[in-house]
């Protein structure tokens, strides 16, 4: 006769439900990044849960449309933590780009690790995007990375300046600059990663109408 799994041996129904829920969530967790754009997917193929990706995206260059591509297709619960002076989320644009706003939540914080500590201590969100934090120390970076590894989350850290190889980041598995060029196409320059190179994507691929 098959024996009952240890976690269900407890006669307390409530605890059994908790155990079942934990089992369920561990089975259903979504892993890597997927955008549906071949060039991007190839570039980010090595990124796995527990990794931190650092982005260099100066304001005005529309570069955030690239990380946005990874928040379109069947994403797990995700959070975008932003801090832009006087700027708020223009949600309609995100929806038009195909982002599922029932799965992507927003929080405004200048000092995310200090202000939103519980968010990093729990694995509620499998994708965490930290967009241009005002305060983000090396200690904060170490903490976020440790938690991401422990909880199998993918963290995007977006800087409001172009990244340079002169100043490294030991915690990031991939460091990349993105921007939109005058001709319209989007460019990406890998600073740290499996392959250092520059990649361009046609504008049409990012602006295709959502069906």
């Amino acid at each position: 006769m098959a024996s009952i799994p240890a976690q269900f041996a407890d006669p307390d129904l409530n605890r059994q439900l908790v155990s079942a829920r934990q089992l369920k969530s561990s089975n259903g967790s979504m892993s890597g990044l997927y955008s549906g754009i071949d060039t991007l997917d190839e570039l980010f193929a090595a990124v796995k849960p527990g990794d931190l990706v650092e982005w260099g995206i100066p304001p005005g260059l529309n570069g955030r449309l690239i990380p946005l591509q990874f928040l379109k297709q069947n994403i797990p619960a995700s959070v975008w933590i932003y801090h832009h002076h006087g700027l708020a989320v223009f949600a309609s644009s995100w929806i038009s780009h195909g982002v599922d706003l029932q799965r992507l939540f927003f929080a405004c914080s200048a000092n995310p690790v200090a202000e939103l500590r519980p968010l990093f201590l729990e694995d509620t969100f499998k994708r965490i995007i930290i967009d241009s934090p005002k305060k983000f120390s090396a200690g904060d970076l170490a903490f976020v990375c440790r938690q991401a590894r422990k909880q199998q989350q993918i963290v995007f850290l977006i800087r409001h300046y172009f990244l340079s190889p002169k100043q490294g980041n030991a915690y990031a598995s991939l460091r990349i600059n993105t921007w939109q060029e005058k001709q319209g196409r989007f460019s990406m320059q890998v600073i740290k990663g499996s392959q250092s190179r520059k990649v361009a994507i046609a504008e049409e691929l990012l602006f295709s109408e959502r069906s």
Partner: protein, 481 residues
């Protein structure tokens, strides 16, 4: 058959979450806190609940259970009051009571939403007899709250005056009266009856003089902590607080149905000053389910403790006091709580897409800032084409949604909520994007609602989202980040 069913569903659709509910239990009501911790006992058998206080919570539960509001509330009310209850949801308590009186008279039972077209039509056809039915009890409540200028005898004489007017003119119900404004009605039949008429008609949830008398929570569990020595380290405070929360949990008899909205933490400082702070939860919080760690409550306490210490340091910076003010003793009292039956907190609350709504709500309770969720709205005007939606609200597929969801493809991801006027840009720096118009048919100056949107690039290539209004002035509204 299926067509007839579809018609009924369409008739039952309603927009917006109701603010109040009146519940008729058919027997004396022992527990008025059923759908919200804010309740009023209207009569022995009727209670009112202000459900708008828990709006986000109920919307989340509806999405979690993938049902409509009827299927959500009916089992909860049946759990508390048996099968013969009547519940009326509406935007104002008076409207709930009015329609409830009609339903009691019709010997009906179940859950009714006054926002639905079907019930709204019936409501608008109610007669004067129903309208006057609850006014005796209303007068009693006015007297209880000692409403300024209210006199029951004068109120009754005004009612008689109105009755004579109705008999003379033959209007069959309050909605049949010709467009008589509040002022005109007030001059003729007194302010109190005019208020009642306004509550009957109004679309908003403002009470506007309705005598709302909140019922005190009958059981307000309280734990007191007397310290043998002052403590000023959060680590120690946290440890002791955890014990206190465990004691609170015991006071609730380990009742898993009990959910808390608000607690008061009364602290005595080292200088014997008493400070009262509030531990409030955005979504009903269960101590039972958070034990033994009580992480959510302790996070809230930590934020409050940090704020308090910061304020005290700023105030007493010139005094020779310890860096953090030691605490001498404290007490924690549960001020608002209500009971939720097991059907609501079922742990298998995941929807098919694996979004753990329960976890997100719990996390939201632990954070000092809100987690925002957005959805599109049916408007072409940029500021009005989306709105903040309650956390975890599920939007149904709308057959005509494509035009709304695809309209902002070339708009930026972030925008300025308050726009600044900019200098008229030089030709060649900007590219035309689109022309937008607000609801021009509602505006006084129809042309003033027109805007021409452009992408403006500065010499360094940074793009902004700008518009020119009809007067030729330019404004910056967003950045292409």
């Amino acid at each position: 058959m299926s067509e007839a069913k579809l018609n009924i569903i369409q008739l039952d659709e309603f927009d917006g979450f109701p603010a109040y509910v009146a519940i008729y239990a058919g027997q004396a009501v022992n527990n008025p806190f059923v759908l919200s911790p804010v309740a009023m006992q209207w009569s022995e058998q009727i209670v009112l609940n202000r459900v708008q206080d828990c709006e986000a919570f109920w919307i989340t539960q509806k999405n979690k259970m993938q049902c409509d509001y009827h299927a959500l509330f009916a089992p909860v009310l049946a759990h508390h009051y048996g099968e013969d209850f009547i519940a009326v949801f509406a935007c104002h308590p008076w409207q709930c009571l009015l329609y409830l009186a009609y339903l009691i008279d019709q010997k009906l039972s179940g859950v009714y939403f006054l926002q639905s077209r079907l019930h709204q039509n019936i409501y608008r056809s109610l007669d004067w007899q129903t309208w006057f039915a609850n006014q005796e009890m209303l007068a009693a409540h006015f007297e209880f709250v000692q409403a300024k200028g209210f006199r029951a005898d004068r109120f009754r004489s005004r009612q008689a005056q109105l009755t004579r007017f109705i008999n003379r003119t033959g209007f069959s119900g309050p909605f049949q009266l010709p467009g008589m404004s509040y002022q005109v009605f007030s001059r003729r039949f007194g302010t109190w009856l005019a208020s009642v008429r306004r509550w009957t008609m109004q679309q908003s949830s403002e009470l506007r003089g309705f005598p709302w008398i909140s019922v005190d929570q009958p059981l307000r569990p309280l734990v007191v902590r007397d310290l043998e020595y002052p403590v000023n380290q959060w680590q120690v405070v946290e440890l002791l607080l955890r014990e206190d929360l465990q004691r609170l949990c015991e006071l609730f008899m380990q009742d898993e149905q009990e959910h808390i909205n608000r607690m008061v933490w009364l602290i005595r400082l080292f200088n014997h000053q008493l400070v009262e702070v509030e531990l409030s939860f955005r979504h009903p919080y269960s101590l039972y389910r958070d034990q033994p760690g009580f992480k959510t409550a302790l996070y809230q306490a930590r934020y409050i403790y940090d704020d308090l210490m910061r304020d005290l340091q700023a105030r007493d910076s010139d005094l020779d006091l310890p860096e953090t003010m030691p605490l001498l003793d404290w007490q924690i009292e549960v001020c608002e709580s209500f009971s939720l039956p097991p059907v609501i907190w079922d742990l298998f609350g995941h929807d098919a897409a694996e979004i753990a709504h329960e976890d997100i709500l719990n996390l939201q309770n632990k954070l000092p800032v809100t987690l925002d969720s957005y959805c599109y709205t049916r408007s072409f005007f940029p500021e009005q084409c989306f709105s903040v939606s309650p956390l975890c609200e599920k939007t149904d597929d709308d057959p005509g949604q494509l035009q709304w969801i695809s309209q902002s493809l070339h708009r930026p991801l972030f925008y300025y909520q308050s726009v600044d006027e900019i200098e008229v840009p030089v030709a060649g720096q900007f590219t035309f994007l689109e022309r937008c118009a607000n609801d021009w048919w509602e505006a006084d100056d129809t042309l003033a609602t027109n805007r021409d949107y452009y992408i403006l690039k500065n010499p360094r290539g940074a793009a902004s989202w700008v518009y020119r209004d009809f007067n030729g002035r330019w404004f910056k509204q967003g950045e292409y980040c």
